[in-house]
């Protein structure tokens, strides 16, 4: 088993708004191992993107602030770094790509220039050398006629091409960790598959670790080694990808899985978990999932569950985790067809 390269421990990121303190990230912990992919899964509003932004300390401040916790990169706490040292991490050791390729690239600079900027900054390359690297990177991410594309502006490219440019930019300095925040959500289905394939290939070739933030468990099954499921600012289940699919030990994970379309299964409509993600300014008492949970018991309404370890590397934040693990309880509410 490879070493842990990036670990988030007890992270709290809050937003101080006029309507009160929004605890978007409220005690999140997960670990990413070198060369592996960790998928962070959750509905929008679960705090998964804010956690990802917190790792690079890019949460807009004000109103956001990292209140407490540790982010250990190769054992050193990123939250304790001076801003100047943090900048040497961004784009060089840890890179990030975003959901919306249409707006994530600056419209007034050419694609090539935006890629070259990273290597000029971090590796001190000359303008020409950086441009050459940009073309090389464009080739690596599978963009045809890269010499020409390098001189084009983002608006001249399709969404999929733009996301490839984003990936090229993020990987130009060969980072140890790539954070991909919903990298395929805004793309067509066929393009989605291509981009995921590309990410998987690049991970193998470059040997980096990938933190994949997504709301789509389907994406997880194909690409991830480990999964952290987030709900209402907390990680509710953390396990290997096979474990999660075979034996979900949190009713929320079970619910997400139940809502996935399955091969060979005919259903009138997809099942979704009833209810909404709670307002992070006013979380429910007890377990935050209990208002939507089909198997909630009285204890869930009053007492917040602690993290329990079910097996080596399989954690769950549920009072009934043992029952779920033993298979005596169906987390999706016993109505699975």
């Amino acid at each position: 088993m490879s070493e842990t390269i990036l670990e988030v421990r007890g992270l709290h990121t809050h937003f101080f708004t006029e309507e009160g303190v929004v605890r978007a990230v409220d005690g999140v912990s997960y670990a990413l191992r070198a060369g592996e992919t960790l998928a962070v899964v959750g509905e929008s509003g679960s705090g998964k993107s804010v956690t990802a932004l917190s790792i690079l300390r890019l949460v807009a401040s004000p109103p956001g602030r990292i209140v407490s916790g540790e982010i250990l990169f190769r054992g050193a706490d990123l939250l304790k770094l001076a801003e100047g040292d943090m900048r040497k991490i961004r784009g060089r050791r840890i890179s990030m790509i975003f959901q919306e390729p249409m707006t994530s690239l600056n419209p007034v600079h050419t694609c090539g220039a935006q890629i070259a900027e990273v290597v000029e900054l971090h590796e001190g390359l000359s303008r020409d050398a950086a441009h050459a690297r940009a073309i090389e990177m464009l080739k690596l991410v599978g963009i045809p006629s890269p010499e020409q594309r390098a001189n084009e502006y983002p608006h001249q490219l399709s969404g999929g091409m733009r996301q490839r440019v984003m990936i090229a930019m993020a990987l130009a300095c060969r980072p140890d960790v790539l954070i991909a925040d919903e990298p395929t959500t805004a793309l067509d289905v066929t393009i989605q598959a291509q981009i995921l394939e590309l990410l998987a290939r690049l991970r193998r070739e470059l040997g980096m670790a990938v933190l994949l933030v997504t709301h789509d468990l389907g994406v997880v099954a194909e690409t991830a080694d480990h999964v952290a499921v987030m709900y209402a600012g907390q990680v509710v289940e953390h396990a290997g990808v096979r474990e999660v699919f075979a034996r979900p030990c949190h009713p929320y994970t079970a619910g997400l899985l139940a809502s996935l379309p399955r091969m060979g299964e005919r259903r009138e409509r997809l099942r979704v978990i009833p209810g909404n993600v709670p307002n992070p300014a006013r979380f429910p008492s007890g377990c935050r999932f209990h208002p939507r949970c089909p198997v909630a018991i009285d204890r869930c309404r009053t007492e917040a569950p602690e993290v329990v370890t079910i097996a080596e590397g399989h954690d769950s934040r549920c009072w009934r985790a043992a029952e779920l693990a033993a298979g005596t309880l169906d987390g999706a509410g016993g109505t699975r067809a």
């Binding site: 961004r90 890179s95 990030m96 994530s104 007034v108 900054l121």
Partner: protein, 322 residues
Amino acid sequence: MRTFVLRRMLEAIPVLFGVSALTFLLLQLAPGDFLDAFAENPSVSAAQLDQMSRNFGLDRPWAVQYALYVKNVLLHLDFGQSFSYHQPVFRVLWHGMGNTLLLAIAGACVTWGLALPLGLLAAARRGTWVDRVLSIGSFALLSLPEVLSGLLLLLFAFRTGWFPIGGMHDLDHDRMAFVPRVFDTLRHLVLPALVVGLVPLAARMRQMRSSVLDVLRLDWVTTARAKGLSERDVLVRHVLPNALNPLITLFGFTLGSLLSGAFVAEAVFAWPGLGSLTLEAIQRQDQYLVLGAVLMASAMLVAGNLVADLLLAFADPRVRHD
């Protein structure tokens, strides 16, 4: 791109025709004419007056006068004779135009030179005391009209003796070497340029601030930060070029107020520009000179708008490649 420029230039022609016709009409409505002043002079005989009236075409109906005027402008680029200067209008106005242009450009430099960095600063330090001080200061400036700021600066120049109190040159300007000459003009330019530049500063700064704030919300700013760029580089390389685009359109819109501001500054500081010439010409009822001056001012405005359009097209790759 080229057809765009050509089309815009052709569109300007009927507008300038309209301007000339409107001004011509207004001058016709004005009672009396240039010769009234001569008529009161006992040494000028009635025959002489008749002669002059015929020379200047003042005895013809105004439609004929206007037709003659247009014909001369189009065929010979002849904007008529100035009655009071006894010179072709164009020659009289030429220097004034240059001086007004110099003043307007200097004023624009004051406005934009201050508004861009201050607006950027206010946005980057949003909500702090820096932002508040800038906002209050700009509001005070906004409420200080050119006539007033002009007189206050005149008082300032007078009390301190640091700046000349009017005009464009010292008396011995013509005997100076080139460098002192430029310096002399610049010294005379400072206060009028401040008058022109300070009033629009508040609005431009506010617009710059909100434009920067708009851009700061966008995704690519996060991308730029995620690259490891310093906040200064993010602002200068990524935010600034995008925040400037909406302001370039404004640049065109504000040319009119710039020329109006220059008009006031010229009147207060006796700056020998188009505005001063216009006032003088109106007082002397020097018909063709007024007409020429208003036309030139409008032409500058129209040309400025065209330049602003071109700048916008050039600055935004999304427009440039259409």
